[in-house]
């Protein structure tokens, strides 16, 4: 290969365009360096350094948001990466997630005798990989970024290794994650192979590229091998978002993982899966009937299974995991609506994810604070009388759960409303009926948790092995206040965010 051709290939390697991801990777390395250089008694600054770095980057990305998002969509790295408004939105989303996970991690790790620095380094690298994942425009980039996210989660899930449930969760996540990667890869290989097959129209020798693949699929709308590849790729992504029938890992992994990691899985990993799904839905748009029928059945089963299974859970981590499964179902409705040509549907999905982020972290923040030595054992009885002993935490919990249940006027209600409106416009009537049944079911288990916190007498800590309740620290308290206030504000006033994601 002549050297000039190589130079043109590398000419679009624009490293400045992925500066936030590079910064996060370097932050991970710098934290490890800090641990080596600092004396042992000053290791307490490492969590602060991590939160400061991620928070500073968040502010920098927000400051440059309009400059980056309002320009035309731009492809760099020879078409591996595409920068657009949605990618920029998700960059902000994942940075907020990273800051919140680091804050919760600092709170949770203080109760354990675990190594501390590695947690924040892994969270930084995983966040960078998620940001690359949602901007990838090529299956090679997508798979490498996805595997980096997944490998990071294998470690984070089994982080509290003195707890057998955490190790079990890590093993289960490893096995199901490897299976889902296998399905995804098999689908990618089928698409790549058939996209380069001689004798078909529109073939390309770079069928891993989303643009080339979309062009090929549009010219061959009834190819069996391509359809098989699409179904396998969708199955691989469905594992990540925890949609039925690929949800088996969710309850055990959510229970066993340390609470901050459960929050990271519930919000970050799910949002990354949906961002990929939104991109792939456009790439596969020539096969819209197939994709909508597969996702439609999946959405209905996911909503019903998640809500019915959550009804009988006494462990709140399993409950929140299964309710997260049902939220994946509502979000799938929005993804299906994009395939019916609803221009607002992408914005509705992103808005729902932001509402879900605020509400989930409010709930997970309260859970992290109340968790005892055994992080996996958090039962609903432990919340009895929280309204008397910790009115602040009880109110934050009620706002978070109310937003998850979709009670007006909270952000979760507006998210559900927007998704349901686009689904209605896309004429998904039977799916909407299932979703409404699901919402009614979910109110039961969310409210029995709230009732436990407000209307039950406080337990005798000795009798129920309820962990001791401690006062809330200043920074976690501030973060929880912000989350709850944002949940309420976003319910009343969507103007800013709705304008940015193109709902108006």
């Amino acid at each position: 290969m002549p050297i000039t051709l190589l130079q043109t290939l590398a000419a679009t390697n624009d490293w400045r365009s992925i500066a936030p991801e590079i910064f996060l990777g370097c932050l991970g390395l710098a934290l490890l360096g800090l641990e080596m250089l600092l004396p042992k008694k000053e290791h307490g600054v490492i969590p602060f350094a991590a939160i400061l770095g991620q928070g500073g980057l968040l502010i920098a990305v927000l400051a440059g948001f309009h400059h980056a998002a309002d320009g035309p969509a731009m492809k760099t790295f020879g078409g591996l990466i595409q920068h657009d408004r949605i990618g920029e939105m998700f960059r902000v989303f994942f940075l907020i997630t990273a800051v919140l996970v680091s804050v919760l991690g600092a709170v949770a790790l203080a109760k354990q005798r675990m190594p501390k620095t590695e947690f924040f380094a892994i969270v930084s690298v995983v966040t960078a990989a998620m940001m690359l994942l949602v901007q990838s425009n090529h299956f090679v980039m997508l798979f490498v970024a996805l595997e980096t996210v997944t490998v990071g989660f294998y470690i984070l899930v089994s982080y509290t290794r003195t707890n057998p449930l955490s190790l079990e969760a890590g093993l289960k996540y490893l096995i199901t994650g490897a299976l889902s990667s296998g399905l995804l890869l098999f689908g990618i290989v089928l698409l790549y192979g058939v996209g380069g097959l001689n004798g078909l129209k529109g073939t390309s020798d770079s069928a891993m590229n989303f643009g080339a693949l979309q062009n090929f699929l549009a010219q061959n709308p009834d190819n069996f091998l391509a359809a098989a590849g699409i179904v396998l790729v969708l199955a691989g992504v469905a594992f990540k978002i925890g949609a039925v029938p690929f949800q088996i890992w969710v309850p055990d992994v959510y229970q066993g993982a340390p609470t901050p990691v459960t929050a990271f899985l519930a919000v970050g990993s799910k949002a990354a899966g949906f961002a990929v799904l939104l991109t792939l839905a456009q790439v596969f748009s020539a096969y819209a009937p197939l994709v909508t029928s597969v996702l439609g059945v999946m959405a209905a089963a996911t909503i019903l299974f998640g809500n019915l299974a959550a009804l009988s859970q006494g462990n709140v981590k399993r409950l929140i995991g299964l309710s997260g499964v049902s939220h994946a179902g509502y979000l799938l409705l929005g993804v299906i609506a994009t395939l019916h040509g609803q221009v607002l549907a992408q914005g509705a999905v992103i808005f729902y994810l932001f509402g879900y982020l605020l509400a989930s972290f409010a709930v997970f923040g309260v859970m992290t604070h109340l968790a005892g030595e055994d992080d996996a054992d958090q039962r609903r009885e432990h919340y009895a009388g929280l309204g008397r002993t910790h009115p602040f935490l009880a109110v934050v919990l009620a706002i978070g759960l109310g937003s998850l249940a979709g009670i007006p006027p909270l952000a979760g209600f507006m998210g559900k409303l927007l998704v349901f409106i686009v689904a209605f416009k896309a004429r998904l009537y039977w799916l909407l009926a299932v979703a409404v049944v699901g919402v009614v079911l979910s109110i039961y288990y969310y409210f029995s948790w709230i009732r436990e916190a407000f209307f039950e007498e406080p337990n005798d800590p000795g009798a129920t092995r309820q962990p001791a309740r401690t006062p809330v620290g200043l920074i976690p308290g501030l973060v929880l206040t912000l989350l709850a206030a944002a949940s309420v504000l976003l319910g009343f006033y969507q103007g800013g965010l709705a304008g940015i994601i193109g709902l108006r």
Binding site: A10, R113, P115, E118, I122, V125, L132, M141, T162, L197
Partner: protein, 172 residues
């Protein structure tokens, strides 16, 4: 001649794969896996995918299976009794095999008889290790860098999950 070689390698690969499943001795299973991978590498070589064939032998046969053998010997996992399959499992397996066979037959029907699609001549750039490497360091440089970070956090994972820390009591 290529047909004869293909049949030879295909039968060899399938036989070794069956050997992996049916052997009672874990070490013999792992060695069958090694031979199976060599067979697959032979199939790749017949398709002119020399690089893939070599990488398969180096990485999987050379490193991964050797690791399997280490772990089997460390755990001293020998024999053991195997539980018989239940009726439900047999029925489910038969159903899955039937569906798979139907799918393959339908698919081979829809694609037409084998050999109807002429294979393109092999891309010379894929045969040359140097040019593949140059691609990795130009077009695919970003994924390569990301893989570097993947390995870094995998290393951190080994430290977190296996290092002995003061005051940390591991479960037995």
């Amino acid at each position: 001649m290529p047909d004869l070689l293909f049949n030879l390698f295909a039968v060899f690969t399938v036989a070794c794969a069956l050997g992996v499943v049916f052997n009672r001795n874990a070490i013999a299973s792992a060695l069958c896996l090694l031979l199976c991978l060599v067979g697959v590498a032979g199939l790749f070589a017949l398709l002119d995918a020399m690089l893939l064939a070599f990488v398969l032998v180096f990485v999987y046969a050379g490193a991964v299976v050797a690791l399997f053998l280490f772990i089997i010997m460390l755990l001293d996992a020998q024999g053991g009794t195997r539980r018989a399959f239940g009726k439900l499992a047999v029925a489910a397996g038969a159903l899955a095999a039937g569906l798979l066979a139907t799918g393959v037959i339908l698919l081979s029907g829809s694609l037409g008889p084998a050999g109807s699609v002429p294979l393109p001549p092999p891309d010379p750039s894929l045969l040359n290790l140097g040019e593949t490497a140059e691609l990795l360091f130009t077009l695919y440089l970003l994924p390569v860098e990301v893989v570097g970070f993947l390995l870094l956090i995998a290393m951190l994972g080994v430290i977190v999950l296996s290092k002995r820390f003061a005051g940390l009591e591991d479960i037995k």
